[in-house]
Symmetry: C2
Subunit: 148 residues, 2 copies
């Protein structure tokens, strides 16, 4: 267990963000949860989904999302804007989902990611993702699975 | 001009947030822009709208929103969660729009507001608002005016 944590200490917010998207692409729940802070205050907002709070709710949502992924997804992160001070780092990005073999460029999701410096390095405390005007329409019964 | 700025120094992030929603309710563009930081890095994301950056783009969006308001709107802010350190303050809230005389409770918007301590007190640097699953459906031609 100790070894595992040693592997997952992120010395910069950028390291934590890279690990977040790597876990996302590979549908790796353990890796994903090692990016999130060990706190009941963490908040995750998937597109058109209710606000989730706490590790259990956040983990459940990623488990569902990853269960719905047939293969790894490919993501491209662009237009990163950052605000940072000693303990908090805010990254505002566009998330593009790359569909292999598909030429169509879907509109990106608009995302705010926030990281906090903890005793175990930088960890995610907020992921707020939402559709932009040209994101394909979302039917009411769509779960986050279909969006990520 | 000096007097104006003196009136708009927010000693806490909570003061800035209260002023933001007061300006929003009254459709007061000057008051709204006095809450935002004087920086080209500020970011505003209205529901289902593209990410806007810089004071000019942000001000234009609020001007459009306020032009579409026949009367003042009433808002109720609930479920506030905060993360704060010395220079940054993150408020995650639900925004409920109260329609006078209407009993129906619309689903709230899910919102992340971020404030930064500047030389002129706490100022807003990010407003990221997005629909939740039960928010009334948004037609593609809807501008932010209809949402706020």
């Amino acid at each position: 267990m100790k070894k595992k944590f040693r592997l997952h200490v992120f010395p910069t917010p950028e390291d934590a963000e890279a690990a977040f998207y790597e876990a996302f692409e590979h549908g790796d729940l353990d890796a994903m949860m090692s990016v999130w802070a060990e706190s009941d205050d963490i908040v995750c907002i998937h597109p058109m989904a209710p606000r989730l709070q706490g590790r259990e709710a956040v983990m459940d949502s990623w488990r569902q999302i990853f269960a719905g992924e047939a293969d790894s997804v490919r993501m491209k992160i662009t237009d990163t804007r950052c605000f940072q001070d000693e303990l908090l780092s805010i990254h505002i990005v566009h998330e593009h989902f790359v569909v292999p073999g598909e030429a169509i460029q879907h509109a990106p999701l608009v995302v705010t990611n926030i990281y906090q410096l903890t005793e175990k390095g930088w960890r995610m405390i907020l992921h707020h993702a939402s559709p932009s005007p040209d994101t394909p329409p979302l039917s009411p019964d769509r779960t986050p699975t279909h969006l990520h």
